[in-house]
Subunit: 441 residues, 2 copies
C-alpha cells in the first residue's frame, strides 16, 4: 500500500486532536483512503509548550518550512494571516494538497489561494473554516451546485450564541454572560473577534463566495457585534415572541433598491437579529451552530451540529484529509471553486428587513399618534407597537416615561434611518434605546 | 467552451423537472461547470404521455439505448430494477458518468454498480436516492470520512412522516390519515412501498454502507412498517411525552450481544419508534425528512429539508450533474465508495433498546405486581408504568379491564420477546396491544 506524507502546521486545540486521531486511527484511515497517511512532522512555535494531547516529541519542530517540505498533504491549523498564507502558497506550488481551517485567511486572501490551488491542480479543502464539525462547504459547493441559493442564514459563532442563549435563559447582562462564557472556556480572554462579529463575518465571506459563485471579500461584509445588546433588549424580544441571535446572512437582493426588477446583487451582513421563536434557528442553543439555506429548487435546508471545539473541528479536518488523500490516490486535480457568476456585492442600503425599535418616550396623551405619524410620513409601516409604562419613581428620573417597542414591516435601511432620526428629534422622545433587525418572520 | 452531452432516462415527476432546469438554467450551469451541458435526449416509455412539464418533443424517445449512446453523462430517473440496471452498466462501461436517484436499485445492486464505476474510472453519483434535496450522501461519504460514525437515525420517508404527523396532530386513524395523504398527493394509490417501510429500508441500506464502509445488502435490513400503528398507540405515546416516527436506524453494536467488548457489528433496521418530544427529530413535521448522525468526533449532527417532490429532488440530481460534469472537465476518475471495513451486519437480536409495551389486563388487585415480577424474572427492568382504567361499560366487553403502558429500560430483543410471551400467558393479561421500540431517550 502506498504511503502519503502528511505535514501538520500547528498543534493547538484542533491540531493536537488531528495529530492524535491520525496516529490512533491510522489503520482505519488507511482502509478508507487506499494509502497509509504518515504524519511526518508537526510545526509548532514552542516545542516545549504544554498541549492538550501528548504528541511524539520527535515529530515536533519549530521549522515550518522543513516540516512541509516533501509532504503530499499539508494541514494548516496555525491560524492568522502570516506565515500561514506564505506556507500554504509554498505547499500548493510544491504540488501538495492543502487542508486548512483558517477562516480569517480565506476571508481575506481566499481568491489568491483558490487560484494557486487551481494552477497547481491540487485540492485546497477548508470544511473546518465554517461551522466546525457541520458539513457545509461541500454541501454548498457541490450538492447545491445545480440550484440557485437565494439566502443563507447562519449561526456560525458558538461563543456569541452561548452568550445570547444565556442572556435569554437567565436574564443576565451581556457582561455577566460573557464572564460566565469565559469561565467555562466558551469565550477567550480577549473575546473581541467573537463578540464584535469578526469571526462570523469571515465565515459569511466564505459562505457567500460559495453560495453565489462570486469572489467576495471581507470588505464587502457589514458587521455589527453583540456588545450593545442589553438584558432589556432580550427581555423585550422574548415578550414579543422573538429570540436574539447573531446571524451571518448572505442574501440575493436587487442591486439597486430603486429597481427591484433589475440586476441582482448579494448583500452579506452579520448583526444581532430578532428571530421568531418558532424559526428552526431559534432552537439552536448554547455553543451549537446551524446554517439555514433557502434555495430556488431545494426549498429550505438546515444543517446543525457542534460549531467549535478541538475534537469536533478535527472531525471536519480529517474528512478533508481523507477526501484529499483519496483524490491523490485516484489521480486528477482537486475540485475548484466556481466564481464565474460575478454578482454585485451590495451594502446594507440594498437590504429590506423588518426592524424592532426601542424608544423611551414621555407618557403623555398624543405621543403615540405623533410617533406613528412620523413613521407613516417616511413610508415605514408599523407592524406591532407595545408600550410599557414605568411605575412612578420606579427608576429615578424616569417617572412619567414609557418604553415603546415598535416592530416595522419590511423597509430599506435608509428609510428606517431617516425615520428614526426624525422620531429622535421629537421633544416627547427621550431616547432611542435600540434598533435591531428582524428576520425569518 | 467544451460541450458535454447529457442523456436523461425517465421524465416522470423528477426527470421532467431536471430536464426543464437543464434547459432553463443552461447559461448559469455552464458557468459553474466550465462546459455547456447539452441535453441530447430523454428516454420515456410513451412519447405522448401527459407530463408535469412541457418538454421539447424532439428530445423524447422510447429507445433508451439510442438516447444514452455517446453521452458524457447519463441521468437515470426511470426507477425500478430493470432496465435501469442494465442501462447504467452500459453507460458506465461506455465511459459515461452516471447520476441516479434509484434507491431500490442501489440497495439491491449497489456494490455491483459501484465496482463498475470504479473499473470504468467514472463518477457514479446518487445524492437524490436518500432524503431528496437534503445533502446526505456526500456529507457521510466525504465530510465524515475521517470520523467514526456510531449511529444514524433518519426520517427518510415523507409519506409515512406525513401520516404519523397527521395521526399525532389530529388523532386520526392510520386508514384516515393514509386516505388524506393520498388525496393530497403525499401517498401513492398503492402505498405499500412507503407504509411497509420498504422505501426507508432501501435508503437505510445505502446509508449503512456509506457510514460503516461496508457493503450492506437490503437483506441485512430488518423492516417493519406503520400499518399496525393505532390512534391509541399515538395517543398513549403523546400522553407519555413521545411522538411516533418511522425511523431508519444504522447502529454500531457488539456483534455478539453476549460479548459486549468483542467485535463490532452493525444493525440496520426500520421500524416505528417512540422518540421523546424534545428530540430534534421529533420536530420534523409533515412530509419533511431529516437525518441525525452521531459520530465519535463530530458529536451529533442533523440535516433537515424536503425529502421528496419533483423540484426538490431535482435539486439533488442537478448538484450531482454539475459535480460529475466538473470532474469530467477537470479530468481524473470519480470518487469511489469506501467499503474496506467489513464490519459484520447483525440482526435485531443484537440491538438493545427500550420498549413501550401496551397490555389490556384485568383491573384487579395484584395484577400489576404479578406482571412486574415476570419482567423482573426475565431481567427486563421497567422504567415507567401507566395504568388507565376503563369506566364500566365504556367499551362493550371491556369493563373491568385496564390499559397498561410499560416503558422498559434498555433490553435485548430476545429478552423482551421472552418477557412478553410469559406476560401474555398470564390469565389476567387479556391482550398484548402493542410493542414499540423507544430511541433517543
Amino acid at each position: 500500500m502506498e504511503t502519503l506524507k502528511v505535514a501538520l502546521l500547528g498543534a493547538g486545540n484542533v491540531g493536537a486532536q488531528v495529530a492524535r486521531i491520525l496516529l490512533e486511527d491510522a489503520d482505519a484511515l488507511a482502509g478508507r483512503v487506499g494509502a497509509r497517511l504518515e504524519l511526518t512532522g508537526i510545526a509548532v512555535r514552542d516545542v516545549d509548550a504544554p498541549r492538550t494531547v501528548d504528541l511524539p516529541r520527535d515529530l515536533l519542530s519549530t521549522d515550518a518550512e522543513a516540516v512541509l517540505s516533501g509532504a503530499d498533504l499539508v494541514v494548516e491549523l496555525m491560524g492568522g494571516i502570516e506565515p500561514a498564507r506564505s506556507l500554504i502558497k509554498r505547499a500548493l506550488a510544491g504540488g501538495a494538497a492543502v487542508v486548512t481551517g483558517n477562516k480569517a485567511l480565506l476571508a481575506e486572501h481566499g481568491p489568491e489561494l483558490y487560484a494557486a490551488a487551481e494552477e497547481a491542480g491540487v485540492q485546497l479543502a477548508y470544511e473546518a473554516a465554517v461551522a466546525g464539525a457541520i458539513p457545509i462547504i461541500r454541501p454548498v459547493r457541490d450538492n447545491l451546485a445545480g440550484d440557485n441559493i437565494t439566502r443563507v442564514l447562519g449561526i456560525v459563532n458558538g461563543t456569541t450564541n452561548y452568550i445570547l442563549d444565556a442572556m435569554d435563559t437567565t436574564g443576565a447582562s451581556f457582561a455577566d454572560a460573557l464572564a460566565e462564557a469565559q469561565r467555562l472556556g466558551y469565550a477567550e480572554a480577549d473575546p473581541t473577534a467573537d463578540v464584535e462579529g469578526l469571526d462570523a463575518a469571515a465565515k459569511a465571506t466564505i459562505l457567500a463566495s460559495l453560495a453565489f459563485h462570486t469572489s467576495f471579500d471581507r470588505a464587502h461584509v457589514s458587521c455589527e457585534g453583540i456588545t450593545a445588546i442589553t438584558a432589556a433588549d432580550v427581555a423585550a424580544a422574548r415578550e414579543a415572541g422573538y429570540v436574539i441571535k447573531l446571524l451571518a446572512i448572505c442574501e440575493a437582493v436587487p442591486a439597486d433598491p430603486q429597481a427591484p426588477d433589475g440586476d441582482r446583487g448579494v448583500a452579506v451582513r452579520v448583526h444581532p437579529t430578532l428571530l421568531p421563536r418558532e424559526h428552526a434557528l431559534a432552537a439552536v442553543r448554547g455553543a451549537f451552530n446551524a446554517v439555514y439555506i433557502e434555495a430556488e429548487y431545494a426549498g429550505s435546508l438546515m444543517f446543525y451540529g457542534a460549531g467549535a471545539g478541538g475534537v469536533p473541528t478535527a472531525s471536519a479536518v480529517l474528512g478533508d484529509i481523507v477526501s484529499s488523500a483519496r483524490r491523490r490516490v485516484l489521480g486528477g486535480p482537486g475540485v475548484t471553486e466556481s466564481v464565474g457568476a460575478s454578482v454585485t456585492p451590495v451594502g446594507l442600503e440594498a437590504v429590506a428587513t423588518s426592524y424592532a425599535i426601542g424608544l423611551r418616550v414621555a407618557d403623555a396623551p398624543g405621543v403615540l399618534a405623533t410617533i406613528a405619524r412620523v413613521f407613516g410620513d417616511h413610508g415605514v409601516s408599523i407592524g406591532t407597537l407595545r408600550q410599557t409604562t414605568h411605575a412612578d419613581g420606579a427608576r429615578e428620573g424616569t417617572s412619567n416615561d414609557a418604553d415603546l417597542r415598535i416592530v416595522t414591516h419590511r423597509a430599506l435601511d435608509a428609510a428606517l434611518r431617516r425615520t428614526v432620526d426624525a422620531v429622535g428629534q421629537l421633544p416627547a422622545v427621550h431616547e432611542v434605546t435600540s434598533i435591531l433587525r428582524v428576520e425569518g418572520a
